[in-house]
Assembly symmetry: C2
Homo-oligomer: 425 residues x 2
């Protein structure tokens, strides 16, 4: 261990005291200034991004990664407007969430306070640098950011804008600390700092998440993969189910709330599947199907590859879909329990009892009844901007907004009350 | 790894499906039956406890440990009545905590679901076996219990009563699984089971907590030590402050919400400290004081040992108190930030501004204004029974009741809504 990350974390922890004492207005103003600085200095940010893109092309990065890495004027504008939205959100801090007067007269309040120092470990997309910093600060936290090496110039340029805003407000730059050397040994060092870091949020692919899970001594909330299912029940409305399928699979296949597996009740399969397979083929989706799916596809003249068991656990993030015909709702639930990732599950049904059984029978972060999997998103669920979608069933489950970056504690006010009467002189 | 704990955890995980589907009435009835079984079979439990006590005496366990280990008829009755109270609490599950209709017509609800499989790792006190099982089941979870070796016969006898109740309700005994071989290698195995265990709660001393923190691959909420402070402000009412001191230090010195350090503003020290030191001496409390404390104690004719820096970080759990005179409220906050354990802090003051500054300036799980530290307890704070007091600033902070053993997830109900209009056929 070089001590490099410990040094950064210690400085961030010192800055935390000042940030925690800011009121809601000052925190909002700081985040607005950050948005302004990004817009003022956008050409610096774009020039830095061009360096990353050149190096990425030279290193042979794939098209999807390059697309996530790329910034242009409209993407910088979107980043700035996301910050303005965060600034404008209601303040989660200092709220009294519950209040009770006890029989002995003490008044008990529950109050939200910041978590403290949050470490964000992420990949490719440079906008996470601005989003994560803004959400952490909104909730009174400080943040240690470790982005991917492919975006290092972009992240440094964005951080420079955020630092300018901190300076303008007379606040320490260390409130947003960037681990500028992206070597993985620094992530390892970071994950050991249990005396300094209150929460680490890894957001990325399997290799990153495994590395963090393996080495973390600090509390971790994972933002892991979405193996999301659509179950088309015997009592589904076929047109609705088709729309949910097409939206879930094709509207943005590269994101975690996209569908990866379609489960179809055997009774509706003959009427639903041929139309579904045709709609998917028309949109360029490769289908990998079970035996019964393939029989129906042959009948409908559509090409379907045989599915392997590994397909059921796959997060394709691409125009590929696994399809399985099941005998019952219970079998659909068993499939989800076995292969799912606790992210998002959808049922298409007009039968209220089936919908309730599906909701009760899954423990994913979001269950949708006749609504698209793509709604599992902070903005769509009314939380505003999100730092990501938690797949850890602790503290926060599903999209995490600023409120999820706080914790409730107890404030008790009395007039000298004690537990044992003899304690009085 | 023997695979012994993995096998237990897999069986518990299977039982979780059945437990999660019980309604609130069935869960309450199960816990009441557990209380009944404990009362019916109390002589078995007491006989087993006598074995543990004999072995403990032979092994030379200290008086405090033996006292925590010891059961008698009234302690078994208290255990049973604690279970009845848990059974009678409002049901935390299935509650819709928030509901919103979005502009597109989808209805978004947040709903509490169980965490799943909770592993409880604890020491000495056998009542934790019954309490933890009841609280986990109340919230729809299953539990893996690993108590201390010194209580193994008592824990097995209590678990037998809990299993009888599960059988009577037609439920699998594996819902409450006891790691009956207390070897520490089994704790190590347990802490690696990240595919099976949703949360581990260690509750015990420094050695246990360090071992868990070092080896855990599963999410952990620590129930760690309480280095609790009373700060007597310049504007304190001296009689009130004395009552808070005596209650906090002497009403039950062996528990985590007892006071360990007294901080006194220099302006009030000459009038407060001599009386405080006399009251402590009268109750057999050994005081370790700073230079200024010792000057005042000599003046008052009371014996005070010099304090060492290590005293400020100590959780004595005994009739010992560290005392320091500070120059200001800010210095008191700096002392707490440096030596505290985020558990409970108390201010005695009649100055509302000082009280607010103290509340804002600490990040402990409970802050008390003119109220005893001993109120940081689930029962006193209105939560009912508690599984312990979390010192981890994530998910739950402070006393954890049944509600803290659940997580909110999203349920979205629509009529076929999609994110991209083109998804409609």
């Amino acid at each position: 261990m070089s001590g490099y990350v410990r040094h950064l974390a210690e400085r961030a922890r010192e800055a935390a005291v000042q940030i925690a004492l800011l009121d809601g207005t000052a925190r909002a103003r700081l985040i607005e200034r950050m948005a302004d600085a990004l817009l003022q200095r956008q050409f610096e940010v774009l020039a830095a991004n061009e360096q990353d893109m050149e190096r990425g092309r030279a290193d042979g990065l794939g098209g999807a990664v390059l697309d996530r890495l790329r910034l242009d004027e409209s993407r910088v504008a979107a980043m700035a407007s996301a910050l303005k939205e965060v600034a404008a959100q209601p303040d989660a801090l200092g709220q009294v969430t519950r209040r009770e007067v006890r029989p002995n007269g003490v008044v008990i309040e529950r109050q939200r306070i910041p978590l403290g120092l949050i470490a964000m470990i992420y990949e490719a997309r440079p906008n996470v640098t601005a989003d994560a910093a803004a959400l952490c600060l909104k909730a009174g936290n400080v943040v240690l950011l470790r982005g991917g090496s492919e975006a290092r110039a972009s992240n440094a340029a964005i951080a420079a804008c955020l630092h300018q805003a901190l300076r303008e407000e007379g606040l320490p730059e260390a409130a947003v600390s960037l681990v500028s050397d992206p070597a993985r040994e620094h992530v390892l060092e970071l994950l050991q700092l249990s005396d300094l870091i209150d929460l680490a949020i890894p957001r990325g692919g399997e290799s990153l998440i495994r590395f963090v899970a393996e080495h973390a001594r600090v509390p971790v909330i994972k933002h892991y993969k979405g193996v999301c299912h659509l179950y088309v029940d015997a009592a589904a409305d076929i047109d609705r189910a088709l729309a949910l399928l097409v939206d879930g699979k094709t509207s943005r296949p590269g994101v975690c709330n996209a569908l990866e597996t379609l489960l179809v009740h055997r009774d509706i399969a003959p009427s639903f599947l041929p139309r579904a397979l045709a709609a998917l083929a028309q949109r360029g989706v490769e289908v990998r199907g079970c035996e019964r799916t393939r029989l129906l596809s042959a009948y409908a003249g559509v090409d379907v590859q045989p599915v392997e068991e590994s397909d059921y656990a796959a997060e394709y993030l691409d125009l590929i879909l696994a399809v399985r015909v099941v005998d019952s709702l219970d079998d659909a639930l068993l499939h989800i329990a076995r292969y799912g990732s606790d992210h998002t599950e959808v049922i298409a049904t007009e039968d209220a009892a089936a919908a309730d059984a599906f909701v009760r029978g899954t423990r994913s972060s979001a269950v949708m009844v006749n609504a698209s999997s793509r709604f599992n998103d902070g903005g769509e669920l009314g939380l505003g901007a999100e730092i990501g979608i938690s797949t850890t069933r602790l503290h926060a489950y599903g999209p995490m907004g600023a409120e999820s970056l706080t914790i409730e504690r107890f404030v008790v006010r009395g007039e000298g009350q004690v537990r044992h009467a003899e304690s009085r002189g």
